[in-house]
């Protein structure tokens, strides 16, 4: 396959996959929402969950984005050094967003900073966001896609705690955010927490944590315990769907971590709304595609 043909093929596949993720939620999110819906019993929570499920059905039926805010596109790529399109990848991802924007259609959500105008194409300087992980001795390319909407981007926060504040400080930092900003970010939320050495390392991890499937756990036993404690704790606050009250607040809490400087604990929190439009797609060197996030997709 000539290189241009391959680039065009991958651009097209990515545009179609992005458009699909605007219209249908990933399998794990649908399953979790169903579970939470069944556990709520007040008339208000029932009405809200019924509306959410009717909306997702209508979105597929009418082939429209399920939420009007289709976000800023963010990609986390784990690209093998031997993947044939590694050089073209970043440019083709941008092109695929433009294509999806007109085909889906997606809302134009890229405003150039300082010059303060909407580019009208849903891409701009540094958008879509692309985070790279280079994988040695691999010829595959794994891509997480995410539509970062305005509402669920707003609660994001990061800080550096003194070690004396400890994991108790991490707990307070995360929970404080839930009752101030979280309730307006369309609960039930998926909460991503980064625990690392500085603001940017924690912040990036808090976003990567949102790419992990719901119900997965941190490999570290204590971190996994803290995920559970935070999940139960935030649920006990009882934000319910839309922050209007209920038995549950979150779809889960995912923590990602690194080592830290002895004098600092970097901590960050990021949330995904109930309409958590995350996708995961893997390309082999022939551009054969495996989609793990959504079942029954035909691109």
């Amino acid at each position: 396959m000539a290189n241009e043909v391959q680039v065009e093929k991958m651009t097209d596949l990515m545009a179609k996959f992005i458009a699909h993720t605007a219209k249908k939620l990933p399998d794990d999110v649908i399953a979790k929402l169903q579970e939470l819906r069944d556990k709520e019993d007040s008339p208000m929570t029932k009405v809200i969950y019924d509306t959410m499920f009717r909306n997702q059905e209508l979105a597929v039926q009418l082939n429209r984005p399920s939420c009007q805010d289709t976000g800023v596109l963010q990609f986390w790529v784990k690209c093998g050094t031997g993947f044939p399109l590694i050089n073209e990848l970043e440019a083709l991802l941008k092109e695929s967003v433009v294509k999806a924007t007109f085909e889906a259609p997606l809302r134009h959500n890229s405003v150039e900073t300082f010059d303060e105008y909407n580019t009208g194409k849903n891409v701009g300087k540094g958008t879509p966001t692309v985070w790279w992980d280079i994988v040695p001795n691999s010829d595959e390319c794994e891509i997480y896609t995410y539509m970062a909407g305005g509402g669920c981007t707003l609660p994001g926060n990061a800080t550096v705690l003194m070690p004396g504040e400890g994991y108790e400080g991490v707990t307070k930092f995360v929970l404080d955010r839930m009752t101030t900003y979280g309730l307006n970010a369309c609960p039930p939320l998926l909460v991503g927490v980064g625990v690392a050495t500085s603001v940017e390392t924690a912040a990036l991890l808090s976003k990567k944590a949102l790419m992990r499937p719901i119900g997965s756990h941190n490999d570290n036993e204590k971190a996994a315990k803290m995920e559970k404690l935070l999940e139960d704790g935030i649920n006990a606050i009882g934000l319910g769907p839309q922050g209007m009250g209920g038995k549950y607040s979150v779809m889960g809490v995912n923590i990602e971590n690194t080592a830290r400087h002895p004098s600092a604990i970097g901590v960050a929190v990021n949330v995904g709304c109930w309409s958590h439009r995350r996708g995961h797609i893997i390309f082999d060197k022939y551009l054969n595609v495996t989609i793990t996030s959504h079942s029954g997709v035909e691109l």
Partner: protein, 208 residues
């Protein structure tokens, strides 16, 4: 007026102050009739610039929202997708806005504060939440886009005057007695949060 249909309480425009009298925070209602999208700059024009709103919203409803619209032939439009935007951005203007325009039902996302509470109580209005993220449901409850004014503001900010049918669910967040659902809830949430911080803190002493 108020209509009850299949157990649903439906506000039909024009809505009077009396229609809202026995509606309380936490109630679920629906709306049929005139609903106009109205957000940041339109509020600013009415309140700060003293301009007359070119769509009559008196005894009708406004929606804090920026829709995706598809133009059809003959100056007609189709509602593709419409969802509520954060109402709090309009809080600064809402008392004056309600006073000037006589709007009865304000629909949006999340809570509002004192200015809106005061307006709802003094002039007989309510603020409701349309569950966010449900843009397709909302769009399909719009029967027709009747009129479009202040089109110079661009698609999201244009006043799109819609005829809606059983638009909802709308959850009442501020009622006409000035009670505020979110503010009352927040007291409860914060109390529970403090309890949980204490409870969890006892179990995460990993630095020894």
């Amino acid at each position: 007026m108020v209509e009850i249909k299949d157990g649903k309480k439906i506000l039909v425009t024009p809505v009077s102050k009396e229609d809202l009298a026995d509606i309380s925070i936490g109630d679920i209602v629906y709306l049929s009739g005139s609903l106009t999208t109205c957000r940041d700059v339109a509020h600013r024009r009415v309140v700060e610039e003293g301009r007359q709103i070119p769509v009559d919203v008196r005894d009708n409803a406004i929606f804090h929202a920026g829709p995706i619209i598809r133009p059809l032939d003959d100056d007609k439009y189709e509602m593709v997708s419409v969802g509520p935007t954060t109402s709090m951005r309009m809080e600064k203007f809402e008392y004056e806005f309600v006073k000037e325009t006589g709007v009865r039902v304000i629909v949006g996302k999340g809570g509002m504060k004192e200015n809106t509470e005061r307006a709802c109580k003094e002039f007989g209005a309510i603020h409701c939440v349309f569950p966010a993220g449900n843009a397709v449901v909302a769009a399909t409850e719009v029967e027709e886009i009747v009129d479009a004014k202040w089109k110079d503001l661009g698609m999201p900010e244009t006043l799109w005057n819609c005829r809606v049918k059983e638009f909802g669910p709308l959850i009442v967040s501020i009622d006409s007695s000035g009670r505020n659902y979110f503010e009352e809830k927040k007291v409860e949430y914060n109390k529970k949060k403090d309890e949980q911080v204490e409870l969890i803190s006892k179990q995460v002493g990993f630095i020894k």
